[in-house]
């Protein structure tokens, strides 16, 4: 059955492929990712389209209206998901926001995991004063509610994409750091690391050949978890008026439309919430599957 010479990594991938929920999650995430890529490449739903009014305000989803086309002429059209208070197409804004979510999710996840893994390895493997200092930093950051850090850092950076990304990455790395540190401390007492020391392998060779490859389960799971957390926190920041400015995003849409809801204009909030829910749900399913597939205690 099993191919000979199959690495644990390939074995994990094989296990992941057999996980139906995981693969369903991956399909949804992949679809969202392709859409995000298309928007990024300017194939559809450009920023201009997402910010230009196309008709009267608050057209209901599915209603007929006079749509203003790109050349300024008007044509009869049927609305897909309505328009917002300024007459912009909600469907276009929703799709454009997928790109925003992916940009924030991917950048924050990669940054926080990279910083967390590097510092976790240094702290866990070398110990001593460096470990004490980093652990102190971890405790200091961790002893204040995350949302306060995120709010104050993004406030300091000013409203906008960079502020959100820096604020989220600067708080998320600590979770990665602490888990990686614990795993490194466990790994370095294992006999295969002692064996490497016994024949005089260098510290760097031990870190890169013995330790980092055995952290892959943590790396995948945290990439996925931090992506979700970043997307959700962007919504909260934008809702508080500290998030993205000048461009649509799910958070901005939910924030803008909270007053509309009282007037019975439900579609902007609902659309953003549903897409957020679907993406987060799919990512959660993928995270669970990654955890199962790459956990070294379950593969082997």
């Amino acid at each position: 059955m099993n191919a000979h010479g199959e690495s644990l990594f390939r074995k994990s991938l094989r296990k992941l492929r057999r996980d139906r929920f995981g693969m369903a999650g991956l399909a949804v995430v992949g679809f969202f990712g392709l859409v995000a890529l298309g928007v990024k490449l300017g194939l559809f739903c450009t920023l201009a389209q997402a910010t230009t009014p196309v008709g009267p305000q608050f057209v209901r989803p599915g209603a007929a209206y006079q749509r203003t086309l790109a050349d300024g002429t008007k044509a009869a059209a049927r609305s897909l998901f309505g328009t917002d208070i300024q007459g912009r197409d909600v469907a276009v804004k929703l799709v454009y926001s997928i790109k925003q979510a992916f940009a924030i999710g991917v950048i924050v996840a990669v940054l926080s995991v990279a910083v967390g893994v590097v510092l976790g390895c240094i702290s866990g493997y070398f110990g001593g004063l460096v470990d004490d200092a980093l652990l102190w930093l971890y405790t200091a950051i961790n002893s204040v509610p995350f949302i306060l850090w995120i709010v104050s850092i993004s406030y300091a950076f000013g409203r906008g994409f960079t502020g959100v990304v820096v604020a989220l990455a600067a708080t998320f790395w600590v979770g990665v750091y602490f888990n990686v540190r614990a795993e490194v401390r466990r790994l370095k007492e294992l006999e295969f690391v002692l064996a490497s020391e016994s024949y005089g392998a260098s510290k760097w060779s031990i870190i890169f050949r013995d330790i980092v490859p055995n952290l892959s389960h943590l790396i995948f799971v945290f990439l996925s978890l931090d992506f979700i957390a970043a997307v959700k926190n962007e919504v909260i920041l934008s809702f508080l008026g500290l998030g993205i400015a000048g461009e649509p995003s799910w958070g901005v849409m939910i924030s803008n439309a909270r007053l509309d809801l009282l007037a019975g204009k439900w579609w902007e909030v609902t659309g953003a919430t549903i897409l957020l829910f679907v993406l987060v749900m799919a990512f959660n399913m993928l995270t669970d599957a990654l955890q199962d597939a790459f956990d070294p205690k379950k593969v082997g």
């Binding site: 199959e6 064996a195 016994s198 024949y199 392998a201 050949r209 070294p296 593969v299």
Partner: protein, 330 residues
Amino acid sequence: MSGAPKPLLAVRGLKKHFPVRGGLLKKVVGWVYAVDGVSFTLEEGDTLGLVGESGCGKSTLGRTLMRLYEPTEGAIEFQGRDIARASAAELMPARREMAMIFQDPYASLNPRMTVSDIVTAPMSAHGVGTPAERREKASEILQVVGLRAQAASRYPHEFSGGQRQRIGIARALILNPKLVIADEPVSALDVSIRAQVVNLMMRLKERFKLTYVFIAHDLSIVEYISSHVAVMYLGRVMEKAAAKTLYASPKHPYTQALISANPVPDPARRAQKQVLKGEIPSPMHPPSGCVFHTRCPLAEERCRAEAPALRDVDKTGTDEHLVACHLVKD
């Protein structure tokens, strides 16, 4: 001893104490006296069996000899040079000449590396050979330890415990070391596999002219493989002699108790079984005087006050028989 060849390994007064930290500021609140003044010599070609109950410090001793732990005190003379205080760079030549076999074959091989990369890692660490030469050496050494050359391209999880231990042995031997420290190499294996691995180790010893330090708690295996045996208790050597002498006429009360507790397929001998009372005292608070006095059936006042030195009680003049006990007559 004059005129005798220099021992391959001479250990003098070796101590390894681990600090116990507690409180908010992680102050040292006590010490674990894991290895507390061990001395012995090992001639080239001999096999020294190190036995003792779990927690007696035998594994710590093995790891300290390999400088996986920093010795607290004492000297480790390997090939005439003290390596107890050598820096990592100064240790490199010695690290080529000594190798370790580990206890747990499931933890001692990196699960993310191929068997070929695992067994040739010591070559890479010492810059020996080109990648092609290393691959060739890997398939050669795998066959020597009884695996197929094709095993090289596989991963550890595709092998059984016994096969994994063979991979660990191949890794230990790939640089042709002089001294191999085997830390309970068979105690994690199925009983049916143990004899195979021990026999393999004995064949390899002949073939590669190896010297072993064989750490174990199984007295029968130690008797089988060792030329000399040292019995440890609470970080100290209680008795050391040629294996035959030690098993035939143990002098120390602790050794006598250990040997009588070892099951022997002889109903007549069952009656003489001596059972030790009590637990091993904590190595954080070793007893005064002779560390064994709390459990010794023969202990006297002197044993509680004064620690006995390890002295030679051999009468035949052939080999030393060292015992650390006040009550054994010269």
